[in-house]
């Protein structure tokens, strides 16, 4: 019996972004998976080398639309390590507030999408409706519903004035209420249990072997969280706990995300307390120049640790900027989670890691379809691009 190839992608209702997973199936059972990337490569790292440090913030903010503050957060941490800058307390609190609000809206978004993937469109619509107040809060604080443009080297761009704090608290209360409702609806539904429990199990060993991060790792009992392991911004000065679950299945991942929202609400509320005790206005320090050096920065994005590495040479451009998004590590676990499961289980197991392809895509290579031999790798593609540019240049010269 030959194996059927069931494609998930490159364009598929399961995912909002282009990515191809070929499921080699026997009947309904998935026997093997092939992951084909390269549909969404945008050359962000290379582009970053042609931007000034202030511009890079706006560039990395646009790597991902949903976790649009994690990348600037990590980049800011990275640049402040190079410049050896200590940012004011007020900026630390504001950074943490923005980061945690983003976690809430991202997790609500995931809950909705997971519902949609299971055919439960009510959860999809409800979760996205309850996410709306968070986005409105963002608009009030930063002026944007998404891509907030709040971060800069040495602090934040806008202050959260103290008179806005009661409104923020009120919105957080409604968000908490709605989270209670959603948590109840998801945790107590017997059909959701039947669909998600025991599906796509990743053991602790798998997580460590694949180096998975974020809620994917925490749902398998690995308490990895940069906010706790290497505290940045205001995370060291507030009380919260890392949510973990032991089962490692899709249900555990949903559980971890839902409970993390409560932790985020608690963190924000403590940060607001902190803000109230500090005088308004002092939200940044002036950074005159960036010295030569290398720096690394992490931030815990909703999907896991975002890692940035920057090398500078004393000018106002990065010489090398390396970005690693959590989905890059997490999507690889899909193979382990779905082989041996049915197609229905495979799709939700993929959705459970909350893959974000626009963060992940790095470099494409072409391969021969029949023999599966690599034809062009990264270097060769670059050389091909240079050859073509040269050809065009010569053509233009001749036409002149």
């Amino acid at each position: 019996m030959t194996k059927t190839i069931i494609p998930i992608g490159p364009y598929h209702p399961l995912q909002e972004e282009p990515e191809l997973f070929k499921l080699y199936c026997k009947g309904e059972i998935v026997k093997d998976v092939q992951w084909v990337t390269g549909y969404n490569h945008r050359g962000i790292e290379k582009l970053s080398e042609s931007k000034t440090f202030e511009q890079v913030f706006f560039l990395v903010e646009r790597i991902c639309g949903i976790c649009s503050t994690s990348h600037p957060f990590a980049f800011a941490n990275c640049m402040e390590e190079i410049a050896r800058v200590e940012i004011p307390d007020r900026a630390k609190y504001i950074r943490s507030i923005i980061g945690e609000l983003e976690r809430i809206h991202s997790h609500l978004l995931w809950v909705g999408l997971a519902g949609h993937f299971l055919g439960y469109n009510n959860v999809f619509m409800w979760a996205w409706k309850y996410r709306e107040p968070v986005l409105e809060l963002f608009e009030m604080i930063t002026g944007n519903r998404n891509s907030y443009a709040m971060f800069k080297i040495g602090g934040v761009r806008r202050d959260i004035e103290n008179h806005k704090i009661p409104t923020i608290r009120k919105v957080l209360d409604t968000v908490k209420e709605k989270t209670d409702l959603l948590t109840g609806a998801v945790m107590d539904d017997p059909v959701i249990h039947a669909r998600t429990k025991g599906v796509g199990i990743l053991t602790k060993e798998d997580i460590i072997a694949y180096g998975a991060l974020g809620p994917t790792a925490r749902a398998s009992g690995v308490a990895i969280d940069v906010r706790k392991d290497d505290p940045y911004a205001a995370y060291a000065s507030v009380h919260w706990k890392v949510i973990t679950a032991q089962e490692g299945d899709v249900f555990a991942k949903a559980e971890v995300r839902l409970l993390e929202m409560y932790e985020s609400i608690s963190i924000i509320s403590q940060c607001l307390d902190g803000l109230q005790q500090i005088k308004e206005g002092q939200v940044d320090v002036k950074v005159k120049e960036i010295p030569e050096g290398i720096g690394t920065g992490h931030a815990e994005a909703p999907r896991g640790e975002v890692f940035h590495f920057v090398k500078t040479d004393g000018s106002n451009y990065p010489v090398r900027h390396k970005i690693r998004a959590p989905s890059y590590m997490n999507i690889a676990t899909f193979k382990k989670a779905c082989v041996g499961q049915t197609i229905s289980d495979a799709t939700i197991a993929l959705a459970a890691v909350d893959p974000c392809y626009c963060c992940t895509e790095r470099m494409a290579y072409a391969y021969d379809y029949a023999s599966r031999e690599k034809i062009l790798d990264g270097n060769e593609l670059v050389k091909m691009g240079q050859r073509k540019t040269e050809k065009l240049r010569r053509q233009i010269k001749r036409n002149r």
């Binding site: 199936c25 055919g119 439960y120 669909r195 229905s344």
Partner: protein, 310 residues
């Protein structure tokens, strides 16, 4: 005689009437779903716009690797099957003609034709996703048909061993079958069967948008898909009417009874919509277990109760 038969099939209570009624029920479904989800919902004529757009405007693309004749024939067969079932149900139910002996079994087989035709059409398209959808649909038919047949058997038993739809309606002249415990159990099982027959969540396994891209129907487009959705409209009208006739005492279009009849159909459809909106999709083996074990058990209990006159 032939003229009236053609009228019955094409106009009333057949194709035209059933598709308009089904279209409105489809709008009702979308409107209620939208209200549950804090949306506004489509205008009343939206299902008809959808149908006409697919029929007249959209291009019909034939699959390159399939068998185009079978592929295009199957939606027509499904439509004919659904319409015939509707005619055979509504003629005795509305007291236009008296039907014939054994028509309930003919209806049972006719109601199967759309699902079987969709399976053949999917397999003729040569798409791997469609073949997965077809295999799931086949498994689903195997699981819910037994339950549906047992429900029919129970109804025949309760009506005093009569296999004529009109006599079954007569037997419910004083109290409808749902007035007894066994009737309620049968109604519950029947609602889940309808859910599966209509391909609604939690039994939309054969279509499963986010898993296999609408499975069985993935290759259908343009006028062929227009016939598919027309068949679905007609089924959305026919199946609740059938259950209303079997268990809720039939329909009547005289005087105040019109309101009751409409309310019966709307209530059944509303129940279907609410189940659809409060459940995620099951996996195929879960759906099979649900029907083989739980629903069959429920119907057998109902039959046993009806033997004791409950």
């Amino acid at each position: 005689m032939i003229f009236s038969t053609i009228i019955y099939f094409l106009i009333f209570p057949g194709l035209l009437f059933a598709s308009i009624a089904g279209g409105f029920l489809s709008w009702f479904d979308r409107k209620v779903t939208a209200m549950v989800q804090f949306r506004k919902g489509p205008p009343v004529l939206q299902p008809f716009y959808d149908f006409l757009k697919l029929l007249l405007v959209k291009e019909t693309i034939l699959p390159a690797k399939g068998s185009p004749v079978v592929f295009m024939l199957m939606p027509i067969l499904a439509l004919v099957g659904a319409t015939l079932a509707c005619v055979f149900i509504l003629l005795p139910a509305l007291n236009i003609t008296s039907g014939f002996n054994g028509d309930i079994l003919v209806i049972f087989y006719l109601l199967n034709i759309p699902a079987l035709a969709f399976i053949l059409g999917a397999l003729a398209s040569g798409n791997p996703l469609a073949s997965i959808g077809a295999s799931r649909e086949l498994k689903l038919i195997i699981s819910y048909e037994l339950t549906f047949l047992l429900i029919l058997a129970a109804v025949i038993f309760k009506a005093g061993m009569r296999i004529n739809l009109q006599e079954i309606i007569m037997a419910q002249a004083d109290t409808s079958f749902i007035g007894s415990i066994s009737g309620i159990l049968l109604f519950i099982a029947a609602i889940f069967c309808l859910q599966a027959k209509l391909g609604y969540v939690p039994f939309d396994i054969a279509e499963a948008e986010t898993e296999i891209n609408h499975g069985s129907f993935i290759e259908y487009s343009g006028s062929a898909y227009a016939l598919v959705i027309l068949t679905k409209y007609i089924l959305l009208f026919t199946l609740p009417v059938f259950i209303g006739t079997l268990l809720l005492g039939g329909l009547s279009f005289t005087g105040i009874n019109i309101v009751y009849s409409l309310l019966k159909i709307l209530a059944i459809v509303l129940l279907l919509i609410l189940i659809r909106n409060t459940n995620p999709r099951l996996k195929i083996h879960q759906a099979m277990r649900f029907f083989f074990v739980w629903m069959n058990l429920l119907v057998i209990i109902a039959i046993t109760l009806s033997i004791f006159g409950r």
